[in-house]
């Protein structure tokens, strides 16, 4: 019983630690979003601005902490964890890849003048 109380104590501590982390990450994102450093905005990697890479990576870090700590994914069996996470990650990556590449292609068609905007 004494052991139980101690483990609950530490899980409460962990909850506040994760909350602190999420707050810091969100604040960092908002500050970056407001000042928009020129270097990060004007340089790209794989057709995506450096700044947007930072946002997306920080978001995935936040998603990891919410799922693992708040939704107790770390306490579930390996099978359940993989069934949920791998399925989502695989399907979402596939969908994103297909749609974003296609969207960029249509933009190029517009830009190349096959469809004219009348200004």
């Amino acid at each position: 019983m004494a052991h139980d109380a101690a483990s609950h104590e530490s899980s409460v501590k962990r909850i506040w630690y994760v909350f602190f982390l999420l707050t810091v990450l969100t604040t960092a994102e908002v500050i970056l979003g407001i000042i928009k450093p020129t270097f990060l905005v004007e340089h790209k990697f794989l057709a995506l601005k450096f700044l947007n890479w930072i946002f997306i990576i920080l978001t995935l870090v936040k998603a990891y902490f919410i799922t693992w700590a708040f939704m107790h994914m770390e306490g579930e069996t390996k099978g359940l964890r993989r069934a949920v996470v791998w399925t989502a990650v695989f399907l979402i990556c596939y969908l994103m890849f297909v749609l974003l590449v296609e969207g960029d292609y249509i933009h190029e068609v517009y830009k190349a003048g096959y469809v004219k905007y009348n200004f």
């Binding site: 139980d4 609950h8 899980s11 409460v12 909850i15 506040w16 994760v18 909350f19 999420l22 707050t23 969100t26 604040t27 994102e29 908002v30 970056l32 979003g33 407001i34 905005v41 004007e42 601005k49 947007n52 946002f55 997306i56 978001t59 936040k62 998603a63 919410i66 799922t67 700590a69 708040f70 939704m71 107790h72 770390e74 306490g75 579930e76 069996t77 390996k78 099978g79 359940l80 069934a83 949920v84 399925t87 989502a88 399907l91 979402i92 969908l95 994103m96 749609l99 974003l100 296609e102 969207g103 960029d104 249509i106 933009h107 517009y110 905007y117 009348n118 200004f119």
Partner: protein
């Protein structure tokens, strides 16, 4: 770290789930994970469609910190994204109180569960109110803009590059009075009229030398192109056909119409999830007060509802990134 199956106190009942617990999770929890995964894929479908349209209209896609720049009680102050950051913080905090409630449930501390669940419901309600306020500002608009013949939005700037509102451009308004049942016998009510006509704006623009036009095209560094004075006058006189104030499903002053459609649909769908979450949390809150889970000997229901609530928070983290930051 491996899980142990919790006795839910529903063994042998219709929804008890039988004797087997695959993956060492109870029946209800497993079903909640099924639902969350499918709902996550639904939201990814929406966000992927948003990404598709955004890449397609990358030139005319609005800049988020020009769209969401309001803060309560700070009228006319440019506050880019402060409020949405606060909303995000509130939703994350309500997730924290939820997980604290789950934790208290494991210890069978009824009063603590009640307290934390109460805070969670309050957090959810504040978030919903904030969302409604965001929508109101979005629909009302801030600066106003002008639509061209080809359906694109052009916006007004001064020589320093600050946005200029339509009311600061037009010197007078010649807009006709809207047809209203109280001002005459009309068969149907009028469409919503803008405060100024397109000719008011054109006249005002000619008299004010410091005004420029920004068009929805990007230069090679990815910044929107600002026309010089002559080009601005030329574009406005030949191409502008309509004054646009605020946003609806057909056009908005921020940029491409699809932006508003996706904003309404995705934040609306998320808001609906928050609303449902608040509803379920409230039901569970009263069940805890009535002692339902105390009698069952397990607070696992709080944990399952908590999963849903955290999921709503998780979705918001992504919506926040793709609508407000990226």
């Amino acid at each position: 770290m491996e899980a142990t199956v919790v006795k839910t106190g529903t063994e042998g009942k219709t929804w008890g789930g039988g004797d087997h617990s695959p993956l060492k999770a109870s029946y209800g929890k497993l079903m909640m994970w099924f639902f969350i995964l499918s709902d996550a894929l639904t939201f990814s479908g929406f966000l992927a469609a948003y990404g598709f349209s955004r890449y397609k209209f990358i030139d005319s896609w609005p800049v988020a910190d020009e769209v969401f720049n309001h803060f309560p009680f700070l009228h006319g102050v440019d506050a880019p994204m402060y409020y949405v950051a606060l909303m995000t913080f509130i939703l994350i905090f309500s997730s924290v109180t939820m997980v604290l409630a789950v934790n208290a449930g494991h210890q069978m501390k009824k009063n603590k569960v009640i307290f934390y669940l109460f805070l969670t419901v309050i957090g959810g309600l504040i978030f919903l109110g904030s969302q409604a306020w965001e929508w109101k500002n979005f629909i009302q608009g801030t600066y106003g803009a002008v639509e061209t013949k080809s359906g694109r939005i052009i916006q007004f700037l001064d020589t320093e590059g600050n946005r200029v509102a339509l009311s600061d451009i037009a010197t007078e308004s010649t807009q006709r009075q809207a047809h209203d049942r109280s001002s005459g016998i009309w068969f149907s009510t009028d469409e919503t009229l803008a405060a100024y006509t397109i000719d008011d704006i054109k006249q005002g623009f000619i008299t004010k030398e410091n005004l420029r036009i920004r068009i929805p095209k990007l230069d090679e560094k990815g910044h929107p192109i600002i026309l010089n004075r002559e080009q601005s006058l030329q574009t406005l006189s030949t191409d502008a056909i309509r004054v646009v104030e605020g946003a609806n499903m057909y056009r908005n002053e921020y940029g491409t119409p699809l932006f508003a459609n996706f904003f309404f649909f995705i934040t609306g769908f998320h808001g609906f999830h928050v609303f449902t979450g608040v509803l379920i949390n409230t039901i569970i809150f009263f069940n805890v007060i009535l002692g339902t889970y105390e009698r069952r000997g397990s607070y696992e229901m709080v944990e399952k509802v908590g999963l849903y609530w955290h999921f709503v928070d998780l979705v918001w983290v992504f919506v926040f990134t793709f609508f407000y930051l990226v």
